[in-house]
Symmetry: C2
Subunit: 411 residues, 2 copies
């Protein structure tokens, strides 16, 4: 609540829950104070069938959640011998003495399930509140407490909480959710192409949603009840038919991983030459585990000298057309391809801003070249965004240029 | 609530509010449905003196906030001629017809202040709810509605909302908040070094807090009331004295910007040679506006061939010590420095994982070399993290190695 930490739990948990057919109706963040925590949990208990609380299970003095929730529900805490043993082993393995206060993490409220933590010390806890004293009808609620660090919370949610939720709050009938990932078209164009053709399916219950990110539009298809699988499959087939090669993946697929996969399948290699994106594309490619199989190297050539020395861009080209030009982008791509001996090379040169623009070449001007064994292609979009967004959008366009070339070459 | 978008508003707004002396007591996210929105606003009105609502002011059918809040407070909406004119001009300037539904953005609830939007179409709105019918004592509440896109919300908050908040809910007396940014020490070490020496000041009201990120620890000093400036200044001086060169900045300063600033002041240049970080460091440096003045270029040499061809690493070195070794890091740094003609070069080689480790060189092993005109320094940390965190932590260590060298050279 002081703004020192970005809350990534909301997006991560909501996405997994929505894809599993569960609607999150409220997300609340409060300071680490007893009144705020108890008041918020009490309100959630009055409202919800399933509550996930994150953080506050650690060993420090501001980790109050376990205690406060046990207090609110009138449950005693007892030390769980198995957890205590794990804590002692955890520190023994690392050759460190166990700090005295660590022991609070072995405390378990009466009747709670213990969710073992494979990646840290604090286990999760799951409590069935039945009857639920905060609801007029006493209807039961499950309350789950998870540790705050994402690397502890995420596997615990996937492996232990989601199965518990499915068992304790089963959906009414089947639920199928399919997200189709597209690129290279705006949201309104995507909608125009598919909304009409999907109308017979939405009329019989298909739910259709769109989500636009920079350079990408997700189409979310949801079907429920008997025949859900068939309805979703029909819808997906129609979407794929109408959007063709603009579809680059499904669910959580990313464009960088798609490009790495396509190159890996074809046993081909990539080189990069970046000016204005300053390493963003190289960093994106190398975020994909296994990228080393296809990525030979990249050159970030900010200065004209570096463009000449490292890539062999000709001084005449720079003098005649300037560093930000199609001719320079072309020579950068061909230079990177030749010098690194790659099958493909992408080169990017442009003006990221905030300064450096001119009337002829305003901030946002960019040239993207793709060199292949047969041709060198050059795109010239204008990406008028702040600096970080400029890099992101330009990277997306460059990867998409390569992807379209790879799938064209395959077909 | 479907998890397609990361909520960055919470962190951004909370940080600015906390630094201005205002405590955020609750942050709530709800789906775009009438019941949820009205219920949440009603609860906030019963609780808070100042409420900020974000999003839902656009022209589409799920932008319900303006309507719902006016309805909840029993206020009529009227079209504001000045806003309508701005909307018409906005589309005329772009040579596009104004879609019919855009006009809803010109609707203003009775008695609301209009907060002009310099970066988009939907203006913000600020309403004084006085008396507040949702509070037993009728105490007034301010309710501010801001557009969702960060580039519209942020300047509107800074330029219009914060002054309104300061005027309408002034703090009791002075408030000074100073965040000291440190690197190269863990949280407990920082605390050990400063807590005791600050005790006389905390005894007279200084508030002291810590926030640890990967590789960084922030020390937050807050003083209130008369003498706050003096108390905070004394505290800052003591912290700086105890932590010395571990302090790299204050408030929102970033290590990459600090390094760019130091190099710019000294008119010196930087080159990079990255293997396992794959362009992360180049991307971080080029995120800083004006980096082109000091950054000549970077080489991302994933393959052994690229290390030889582009950086001149000797085949014997690779054969004898391996690509992940101090010797290779050293030759990479010296090669990058020489080939790009830079004053400093950083080279990084290591094993990011998840695979590729061995008993002798486990996943997380990394060698960071800094080549200067006089020496080449090599660090050998082991950064056992997931792949994105590995890159981030390693980048931080590399920039810190350079920063310490730059400030040592200056002194």
């Amino acid at each position: 609540m002081l703004g020192f930490v970005l809350n990534t739990h909301q997006q991560w948990l909501c996405r997994r829950l929505a894809d599993a057919g569960y609607t999150v109706t409220r997300q609340v963040a409060v300071p680490d104070t007893a009144t705020d925590i108890q008041q918020t949990v009490r309100e959630a208990l009055a409202r919800a069938d399933f509550i996930i609380v994150t953080g506050g299970l650690g060993p420090t003095s501001d980790d109050l959640t376990r205690d406060l929730i046990a207090g609110l529900l009138g449950r005693n805490l007892r030390v769980d011998a198995a957890i205590l043993k794990r804590l002692e082993d955890f520190f023994a393995e690392r050759g460190r003495p166990m700090p005295a206060h660590t022991q609070v993490q072995a405390q378990v409220p009466d009747g709670a399930l213990v969710l073992p933590n494979r990646h840290g010390t604090a286990p999760g806890l799951a409590m069935e509140v039945n009857p639920n004293p905060f609801r007029a009808d006493g209807k039961k609620t499950w309350l789950v407490m998870l540790p705050g660090p994402p690397r502890e919370l995420r596997p615990m949610f996937t492996d232990q909480v989601l199965p518990l939720l499915r068992k304790e709050s089963p959906l009414d009938g089947a639920f199928v959710c399919r997200t189709i990932r597209t690129t290279g078209m705006g949201e309104s164009v995507v909608e125009e192409r598919i909304a009409t053709v999907l109308q017979p399916l939405t009329a019989v219950g298909l739910e259709l949603g769109y989500c636009a990110h920079y350079g990408e539009v997700d189409v979310r298809l949801v079907a429920r009840g008997s025949g859900a699988e068939k309805l979703a499959a029909e819808a997906e087939a129609l979407v794929r038919e109408r959007l063709g090669s603009h579809v680059f993946g499904v669910q959580d697929d990313q464009l960088n991983a798609t490009v790495v996969r396509l190159l890996t399948e074809r046993k081909e290699t990539l080189a990069l030459a970046e000016s204005c994106t300053g390493g963003y594309v190289a960093n994106s490619i190398t975020d994909v585990p296994g990228a080393s199989a296809i990525f030979l190297g990249g050159l970030v050539t900010y200065s004209n000298e570096a463009k000449q020395t490292l890539l062999g861009v000709r001084p005449e080209t720079l003098a005649q057309h300037g560093a930000v030009s199609g001719a320079t982008a072309r020579e950068m791509a061909e230079g990177a391809r030749n010098r690194l001996g790659a099958d493909y090379a992408i080169a990017i040169t442009g003006i990221a801003g905030p300064s450096g623009g001119s009337d002829a070449k305003p901030v946002g001007t960019v040239f993207i070249a793709l060199a292949t064994s047969r041709h060198t292609f050059v795109l010239n979009p204008v990406n008028r965004y702040d600096r970080p967004t400029f890099k992101q959008v330009t990277c997306q366009q460059a990867l998409e240029l390569l992807r379209r070339n790879l799938i064209k070459a395959s077909s």
